[in-house]
Amino acid sequence: MAPGAAGLYVGRMVRFTSVGLRYAPPAGSSDPGVGQDVLSNLDFHLPAGSFHWLTGPSGAGKSSLLRLMQLAQRPTRGEVEVLGVVTSRARRSELPALRRRIGVVFQDFRLLPHLSAFDNIALPLRIAGRAELALRADVTEMLRWVGLEPKAESLPPELSGGEQQRIAIARAVVMRPALLLADEPTGNLDAVQSRRVLSLLQEMHRMGTTVVVATHSDSLVSAYPGPALRLADGRLER
């Protein structure tokens, strides 16, 4: 599947075929758990423009599956296709351009503490080579969208958890990604902030972005019903 002529991506966004993942044990490790499969025989595909929950208990492999989707990891077995590129066969040099089309939100935000909210959001644009004058409007728009325009110059440690997560979402979507992944995005937030973050993710979905949100909270899935991939012990439950 290839991107359309105008950058429109149609059809299959993510495809997993017989995917397995095993982390290599660190040198000298004697932990018997290390080196075992964390994901096994995963077969599924996510259509473009879909919203999916990725659920399962802690340790089920949700984060590992998201790492495969965000190209932070290559599968040990099988084939992972993201945005029309089979990542297991792609050259390493092809992956950065692909990563710039994928937005990721983490439970621990992963903001750069020495950069302001504005500069954190601007980071993907700067990596992509946007001129300073041109990116200001986009970053300001993002700050307005997440309701944090007055906090543009604040450093992450000066913001609340909810505010940091909204900055992280703004950073994840400022490049207009085709695929947006969120790993326990409400894990560190209270109920009010969680609802706000979820509504931002759903708004992205409504605007056409393919969204996958990993959570171990069944109540969250119940509150926002949608199709789900359920993991248990590294395998998909049907």
């Binding site: 932070a72 750069l112 990596i127 080579g129 946007r130 728009e141």
Partner: protein, 308 residues
């Protein structure tokens, strides 16, 4: 959020990526990870040592050339007058000496030039005849050779200091070679220390690097940021090292100048500025910066290979 989230691939995603300067110009926080003390200090020390070694090498070379030029012969034989017949007889007798490869009268103009610092321009002054002798190999016992020359050319005054000059020239050449090896060792040591500094910076920033990597930064961009910072710190340190080395170098040059017959100086402008190997000295900070840049590129790119 107009257009945000529309189902399009960003029009910037395919552009050649460059981390821009301006706001957030230091996303890796390299000003903290590679602070402006360690690397400049290393570059300063290395440049100081390399400059002194380089200055020593060039000084030794200049001395060797000058000595070779001033003592064109291993042995000089002075005859009391310029009588041509006597000169011819002396030359014929001297050519019978073992290991002699050349014997000729010293050029009058060159003799006048050599004597000018002591005697000035006195065209009418009668000069003695000087015969220059070259031997290969150099005689082991110059004093014995002098006695033998006096026996075959009665009345001659023999000067054998050229033998010692030739030995000094050989020594100066060795000093020059050793100094160049020292420069090389200093640069290798600089590479090792810079590599350690960069690895410490990478360890301090591995989380930030991972975030940039996940956001789509290429190895080249990340390495470019490190290399730029390292090159800047190295060139600043190297310039300081060069500035610190200059007084010593000028003092050496002045000392060498006195060995070459120059007068001591009392003013800054009279220092032997022109005697320094400026092209090489000025190239040193550039070389140190380039070395730091290349070391950073290789180290960071090698480190980044561990990421997918």
């Amino acid at each position: 959020m107009s257009e945000t989230g529309k189902f399009t691939v960003s029009r910037w995603a395919s552009r050649r990526p460059v981390l821009r300067r301006g706001r957030g110009r230091d996303p890796l926080g390299l000003r903290q990870a590679l602070p402006g003390v360690l690397l400049p200090a290393v570059a300063l020390a290395m440049t100081l040592l390399a400059t002194l070694a380089l200055g020593g090498a060039f000084g030794a070379r200049a001395l060797a050339l000058r000595w070779q030029e001033g003592a064109a012969a291993a042995v000089t034989v002075q005859l009391p007058d310029m009588d041509q017949a006597r000169v011819a007889r002396a030359l014929a007798a001297l050519r019978e000496l073992p290991d002699l490869v050349d014997a000729r009268p010293m050029d009058q103009a060159r003799m006048a030039a050599l004597l000018r610092p002591w005697l000035g321009e006195i065209p009418a002054l009668p000069l003695p005849a000087i015969l220059e002798l070259r031997f290969d190999p150099l005689p082991d016992n110059p004093e014995a050779l002098a006695l033998r020359i006096i026996s075959v050319v009665p009345g001659a005054a023999v000067e054998t200091q050229g033998v010692w000059v030739a030995r000094m020239v050989a020594l100066a050449t060795k000093v020059q070679q050793t100094a160049l090896v020292a420069v090389l060792l200093v640069l290798l040591l600089a590479v090792a220390v810079v590599t350690v500094g960069i690895r410490a910076g990478l360890s301090a920033r591995q989380d930030v690097i991972a975030i940039l990597h996940d956001l789509g930064a290429t190895d080249g961009e990340i390495a470019h940021r490190f290399a730029g910072r390292v090159a800047l710190l190295c060139v600043l340190g190297a310039l300081a090292g060069l500035a610190l080395a200059l007084p010593t170098l000028l003092a050496f040059s002045g000392l060498a100048g006195s060995l070459m017959g120059r007068m001591p100086v009392s003013r800054l402008a009279e220092l032997p500025w022109r005697g320094l190997p400026w092209p090489f000295l000025l190239a040193l900070p550039v070389a140190v910066a380039a070395l730091g840049w290349a070391t950073a590129q290789l180290t960071v790119r090698g480190w980044l290979k561990r990421l997918p």
